[in-house]
Symmetry: C2
Subunit: 349 residues, 2 copies
DNA sequence: CTGAAAGCGCTTACAG
DNA sequence: CTGAAAGCGCTTACAG
């Protein structure tokens, strides 16, 4: 990499590297460099297509203009979409993004944090896994801003951007109740992280507030690590085991996807035999027949807020933690429209 | 960032930074450092949790252990899935990934290349846009390995990993013909890039080989930049304008998604009124009713080959360009099963 | 108005 | 068997 350096420009312009650095960093006026010299340097730099070596600059200033983005799974539509917005927004400020997926595995997450740290990223956007609270605490000591997304730790003071998971789940569940569903189940993950807990609590509160059955039989938890085939089997087994179920709330997108597949493989008609609502909006949910009612997260807005917050912190870190809670939108579709579809009311089993 | 440096270790161990560097880089034996000293240094490094500053190392060695990944759109399921595999594979070799989306825009692509270059990435994985051939040529002069993916430039010698687009399209189209469809259209992009051209050629060849109508009326090209709503409208207009159409081949995933939506909004029954095949496999295609026949790309294998090739080049660049062409798989589903669905044969219009 | 010099944290050719 | 020194390409406090 014998790129052209500040020295080359200095030689050609007949000045010192110092002067070149000042001019190229927009400090010409401040440092009272003459118009003449300044212009000459600019011209030479342009002609030589000079690009500052970010490593050298980073080594000297401690700023790499890079942010680390840790998601659960970059292949998951929700996270991929957020990553796209983060990329676009970060670009506006001249930042690039280094990404990594945790697979909801603490060890992978710790590994990622360590790598990002010794890569000297300027700031972090993190979708934390469980048990990552101590690491997040430690990160703060490095004086690099951290913004959590999708979830956070109630016991750790930090910036975060999330959606109102409780409210979203409450609205979706209430909607099911209002549509006349009587025995509503939740299929969620075994994770006790805040975003899943809030969704669960919103679900439970809605059932209780409306006087609808809420007990262990309407709760099914499935571990994240379970592979896709086993997961579908697990949902099938659950659906077969509980009597009188007439609606299901899937607490996250991939459970919705495999849940739909399971329901169909049992020959049940979504929206007729069984109502369905899922968290997250996907092309699949919109185009499925029947279309799937869901709780859509405002991804654009999330990405903008996340990067905006990080950039603000990068400039002058505030002492108080910023908490941004966005409102998700209930997209009412056919899968929960009992009145319309169920000309003949049908009960599962 | 007053992290702990090699100097700190040297001081504590009572040796020079040089010795520490040798030991920590596994050159203890080669440099004949005594077992005793070596062990002491290791122990101190571990205790202090020493992490080499990658910037400093990079500045000195010219290696950043970072690769640049340029895709069309990280939010697109295909590219997001590839990104996941690339991340996992690169990690095995100790590399991190810096990503960027081109939106199929040359200027954005050039911008990304420039940023990655002055960030000193060690190698590039690029999904090129049109007119990016000169830039790719120039990149080669930097002596950093480049692997193209999804597409390439016939006039530029380079490494690449793609699927057999011609074969995939040929197989899908032949399948439609064999199912009894008589007037088959292709909906593709206006791009004349090789992957789209190959798909188009495979489609055209299959029609000709089977003696099925092939003329301008069965070809619809849509620009990438068109926004989603306009795109759906465009497809609707096309479907209404051409008479007797009984099947469509969508040449890429997002066209398939919006195409399905358009067909349905016209009240046409997929698999009955009109056969459908799309490139790429998605949850949506598998779970749609009827399920959508598609050409699935071997994403895992692609990612592995891409990174494998790049790593090989990183170690010792070969003089000849490596071309990997993977075989996609035709997933036959309901949307193209005329015999089964069409109890009463129906013609569009 | 401009420059010499130090230093960011490494690696490595050279010397002993 | 080990170390002093140079240098990667920048930035910036200091000096004039």
């Amino acid at each position: 990499m014998k790129g052209i350096s500040i020295k080359d420009i200095a030689t050609q312009a007949g000045v010192s590297p110092t002067t070149v650095s000042f001019v190229l960093n927009g400090k010409a006026k401040e440092k009272r460099i003459s118009e003449h010299v300044s212009r000459k340097i600019q011209k030479i730099a342009a002609k030589l297509k000079y690009r500052p070596n970010q490593l050298a600059r980073g080594l000297r200033t401690g700023k790499t203009k890079t942010i680390g983005l840790i998601v659960e799974d970059i292949a998951n539509s929700f996270f991929a979409s957020v990553a796209k917005v983060v990329e676009d927004e970060a670009d506006k400020y001249g930042y690039k993004v280094l990404y990594g997926s945790t697979e909801d595995n603490v060890e992978k997450a710790k590994g990622l944090l360590e790598v990002l740290r010794y890569r000297q990223v300027d700031g972090y956007i993190i979708t934390p896994t469980k048990h990552l609270d101590k690491e997040i605490e430690l990160l703060k000591d490095t004086n690099k801003p951290v913004v959590l997304m999708d979830r956070y730790f109630p016991n750790v003071s930090s910036h975060y951007v999330i959606v109102d998971n409780y409210g979203g789940a409450y609205a979706a569940t209430s909607h099911l109740v209002n549509q006349g569903y009587k025995k509503i189940a939740i299929v969620t993950t075994t994770s006790d992280q805040i975003q899943m807990k809030d969704r669960f609590d919103g679900f439970a509160a809605a059932l209780k507030d409306h006087g609808v059955t809420f007990n262990k039989t309407v709760v099914k938890k499935i571990p994240f690590e379970m592979d896709r085939a086993a997961l579908a089997q697990e949902i099938i087994k659950y659906l077969q085991s509980v009597k009188g179920l007439d609606a299901i709330f899937f607490a996250t997108n991939y459970l919705g996807i495999y849940g739909i597949e399971s329901i169909r493989s049992l020959g049940l008609r979504i929206g007729v035999d069984i109502g369905v609502v899922s968290f997250d909006d996907l092309d699949l949910f919109r185009l499925h027949s029947p279309s799937i009612t869901c709780i859509a997260q405002p991804i654009q807005e999330m990405g903008r807020q996340i990067v905006g917050l990080l950039m603000k912190e990068l400039n002058h870190s505030s002492s108080t933690s910023q908490h941004v809670v966005l409102t998700p939108e209930l997209m009412i579709r056919e899968s929960s429209s009992r009145q319309i579809n169920a000309k003949i009311p049908v009960m599962l089993r």
